[in-house]
C-alpha cells in the first residue's frame, strides 16, 4: 500500500511522479468493471447449477470482502460478524411478516442492520485487539440467544421465508442470484470508494501507528466506526442473500461462529489487507468446500491448520505472493512511484 521507492536508482527526482493509475491498474479495473455485467447474464444461459453455485460463491465473496475491510484495513479482528449475518436474515423475516414485499424487505433489512451497528460500534470499539475480537463474539452470542427466545420467529427451531413461494423456482433463483451479484458488486465498489477517499489514507495511518495518527489529527474512532458500519451492512446483505437462497434459517447456524471461521480462512489465504486477495480467497475456499466438505471434521481441521500456516508463514496470503512476483497492481488503491520516461511502468 505504501509508495514504493526504488532504492538505488539514479533517476533525477523530476523524472519521477507518484500515481495510482498504473497501466496494469487501468486495464484490470476496466476488466473488473465488466465482470458484474457478465455475471448478470449467466441466468440467461439457463444452467440452474451454475446459477446456484455462483450464488454461493458471491455470498462468500461478500463475506470475505467485508471481513477484510474490518481486519485488513481497520486492524479490527472481529469474531462476531455472524451477528449481522443473522440479524440481516431475521430482520428480513420480521419485515416480511409485517407485509413488506420480500426483496424490498431484504434491502430494508440491510439498512436496519447498518443503523443498529452504530450504537453497537460505540460499545465494541471500547475494546481493542483481542478484547474487541471476543467482545464482538459475545455480542453475537447475546443477539443469537435473544432471537432464539422469540417464539414468533420460530424460537430455536428456526423459521422459513415466505413471500417467494409463489415464484417459479427458476425465476426465483435468478432473482436471488441477481441480488447476490448486486450485493457483491456494491460491497466491492463500496470498499473501493471508501479506500480511495480521505478515509483510506486515515485508515492506513491508523494501521501503521494508531497513536501517531491520532496525534496528527486523524479521527481514529470515527474512521473505525465507518468501517464497522460498512462491514455490518455487508454481512447483513450476505445474511439476507443466504436466507433467500436457502429459504430456511435456524439461529444456531445463521448466528454460528463458523461464518467467522470461513471469513478468516478466505481472507488469510487470499491476502489480509490486500484489495484483490479476498476475492481470490473466496474462490479458493469455494473450491476447497466442493472438494473436501465430505471429509467432515478432517476438512475443518485442514481449514484451521491452513489458517495457522498462512497467519504465520504467509501473512499477505496468496495474493501478496502473486503481487510480489508480478510487481504489478491490479487496482488503483495505493500510490506508486513511476518514471515519467517509462510512463505507466511500475518501479517497485
Amino acid at each position: 500500500m505504501s509508495a514504493h521507492t526504488a532504492a538505488g536508482t539514479t533517476l533525477p527526482a523530476r523524472s519521477l511522479r507518484v500515481t495510482r493509475w498504473t497501466t496494469s491498474a487501468r486495464l484490470s479495473t476496466g476488466g473488473l468493471a465488466v465482470v458484474p455485467v457478465l455475471l448478470a447474464a449467466v441466468p440467461f444461459l439457463r444452467n440452474a447449477t451454475a446459477v446456484q453455485q455462483l450464488t454461493s460463491l458471491l455470498i462468500l465473496v461478500t463475506l470475505a470482502v467485508t471481513w477484510n475491510a474490518l481486519a485488513g484495513y481497520g486492524g479490527l479482528v472481529s469474531v462476531g460478524q455472524q451477528a449481522f449475518i443473522g440479524l440481516g436474515a431475521y430482520a428480513t423475516i420480521v419485515l416480511v411478516q409485517r407485509g413488506v414485499p420480500t426483496f424490498a424487505a431484504m434491502a430494508l433489512a440491510v439498512a436496519v442492520c447498518a443503523v443498529l451497528a452504530v450504537p453497537l460500534s460505540f460499545l465494541v470499539l471500547r475494546l481493542r485487539g483481542g478484547q474487541f475480537a471476543i467482545g464482538t463474539w459475545v455480542v453475537a452470542e447475546a443477539i443469537a440467544l435473544i432471537v432464539a427466545l422469540d417464539q414468533t420467529l420460530g424460537g430455536g427451531t428456526g423459521t422459513s421465508l415466505g413471500g417467494l413461494s409463489g415464484l417459479d423456482p427458476v425465476v426465483r433463483r435468478a432473482f436471488v442470484y441477481w441480488y447476490a451479484v448486486a450485493v457483491a458488486a456494491a460491497v466491492v465498489i463500496g470498499l473501493f470508494v471508501l479506500l480511495r477517499s480521505s478515509l483510506g489514507l486515515a485508515l492506513q495511518a491508523i494501521r501503521d501507528d494508531e497513536g501517531s495518527a491520532a496525534a496528527l489529527g486523524v479521527r481514529v474512532l470515527r474512521a473505525k466506526r465507518v468501517l464497522y458500519v460498512f462491514a455490518a451492512a455487508g454481512s447483513a446483505a450476505a445474511g439476507t442473500t443466504i436466507l433467500a437462497n436457502t429459504l430456511f434459517i435456524q439461529p444456531n447456524s445463521i448466528f454460528g461462529v463458523q461464518w467467522t471461521a470461513f471469513m478468516i480462512f478466505m481472507v488469510l489465504v487470499g491476502g489480509l489487507g490486500t484489495f484483490e486477495g479476498p476475492l481470490l480467497g473466496a474462490v479458493v475456499f469455494f473450491l476447497a468446500q466442493k472438494m473436501f466438505a465430505d471429509y467432515g471434521a478432517w476438512y475443518l481441521i485442514g481449514l484451521g491448520a491452513a489458517a495457522i500456516a498462512f497467519a504465520l508463514l504467509l501473512p499477505r496470503g496468496l495474493w501478496g505472493l502473486l503481487e510480489d512476483r508480478l510487481g504489478r497492481r491490479l487496482t488503483p488503491i495505493g500510490y506508486w512511484l513511476v518514471s515519467r520516461r517509462q510512463r505507466g511502468r511500475e518501479a517497485p
Binding site: 479482528v77 465494541v124 481493542r128 483481542g130 478484547q131 471461521a261 488469510l268 471434521a297 484451521g304 504465520l312
Partner: protein, 291 residues
C-alpha cells in the same frame, strides 16, 4: 430461599469462571495476546481426564495429577512452536493463529471422541451432587471445593508473581520485554512458562467444569467467553477483581436461570454488556493487565 440458594450457586460458579479467566489474563498480561483457543484447551483437559479415568479406572482427581502437568508441557510446547512465531508477526497474527488452533482442536476432539455429551461426575459418585444443609440453605460441596481451588490457584499465582524470581522476571517482561532482555531475562522462556501455567490452569478449570456439568467437543468457545466476561466485569489488571467478576457473572446466570433456564446465558451476557457500556467500560481500553 430459592433466591439465596441461586446466589450461592452463582458464587461458586464464579470460582470456576475465575479459574478459566486467570490463564487468559496471565497470557494477556505477559504477552499482550488473547488466546482464542483457551476454552478449547480447557475442554481438551476435560477429555484427557475423562480418558484417563476410563482407561485406568482412577478417580478424576487422581487423573488431574497426570493431566495438569501434561497440559503444562502442552502449553510450553504451544508457545515455542506457534505463539512465539505469532509475536513477531504483528498484533492480529496471534488472534488469527489461535482461532485456527481452536478450530483444529474442536474438530480433532470431535474426530477422536465423537460428538457425544460426557460428564466427569460419575467418576466421583455421590460427591458430585452432595450438599451441606444449613437450615433451609443448601451448600453444594463440589461448588465450594471448586471455589476453594480457584482461590488457592489465584493466591498461588499472586504469590508466584510477587515473591519469586521467575515471577519478577515475568512482571518485568510484561512491562518491557526488550529492557528485561537487556538485563538478562530470557523473554522466550518467560513467555513459554506463562503459557504453560495458563494452559495448566485452564485444563484444571476444564476438569472442574466437566465435574459440575456435561461437556462435548464444542463446549470450548463458551468457556472462553465466560472467562473473558469475568475478566472484563472484574476490571482488567487484578486477579481478585477477576474472581469478583466471575462471581457477578455466575450470580447473574443463576438468577437468570431462576426466571427461566433459557435466560441464564442471556442474563450473563447482558451484565457484561452493561459493564462495557458503563463509564468504567471506557477505561478498559486504557487499562493494562499485570495479571
Amino acid at each position: 430461599m430459592t433466591v439465596v440458594n441461586s446466589v450461592l450457586q452463582g458464587l461458586t460458579l464464579g470460582g470456576l469462571y475465575a479459574l478459566f479467566a486467570c490463564g487468559l489474563s496471565l497470557m494477556f498480561g505477559v504477552m499482550r495476546i488473547i488466546n482464542l483457543a483457551h476454552g478449547d484447551l480447557a475442554v481438551l483437559g476435560a477429555f484427557l481426564v475423562w480418558w484417563t479415568t476410563q482407561q485406568f479406572g482412577v478417580n478424576p482427581f487422581v487423573a488431574l495429577l497426570v493431566v495438569v502437568p501434561l497440559m503444562f508441557a502442552v502449553g510450553y510446547a504451544l508457545q515455542r512452536t506457534i505463539l512465539q512465531r505469532c509475536l513477531a508477526g504483528g498484533p492480529y497474527v496471534p488472534l488469527l493463529a489461535t482461532f485456527g488452533l481452536a478450530i483444529v482442536l474442536q474438530n480433532a476432539l470431535l474426530q477422536t471422541f465423537s460428538p457425544d455429551v460426557r460428564s466427569l461426575a460419575p467418576g466421583i459418585g455421590g460427591f458430585a451432587t452432595a450438599s451441606w444443609r444449613l437450615g433451609s440453605l443448601s451448600v453444594p460441596v463440589l461448588g465450594v471445593l471448586v471455589l476453594a481451588a480457584a482461590v488457592a490457584v489465584l493466591a498461588g499465582l499472586q504469590l508466584f508473581l510477587r515473591r519469586t524470581t521467575l515471577g519478577l522476571q515475568m512482571r518485568a517482561t510484561a512491562q518491557d520485554a526488550d529492557t528485561a532482555q537487556l538485563v538478562g531475562v530470557d523473554s522466550r522462556r518467560v513467555y513459554a512458562l506463562a503459557t504453560a501455567v495458563a494452559v495448566a490452569t485452564t485444563a484444571l478449570a476444564g476438569a472442574f467444569f466437566g465435574l459440575r456439568s456435561t461437556f462435548d467437543p464444542s463446549s470450548g468457545p463458551a468457556q472462553l467467553i465466560f472467562g473473558f466476561e469475568a475478566v472484563v466485569i472484574g476490571g482488567f489488571g487484578s486477579l481478585w477483581g477477576t474472581l469478583a467478576g466471575g462471581m457477578v457473572l455466575g450470580v447473574a446466570q443463576a438468577l437468570g436461570a431462576l426466571i427461566d433456564p433459557q435466560y441464564a446465558l442471556v442474563a450473563g451476557h447482558l451484565v457484561f454488556l452493561a459493564v462495557l457500556a458503563s463509564p468504567r467500560g471506557g477505561l478498559l481500553a486504557m487499562r493494562t493487565a499485570t495479571a
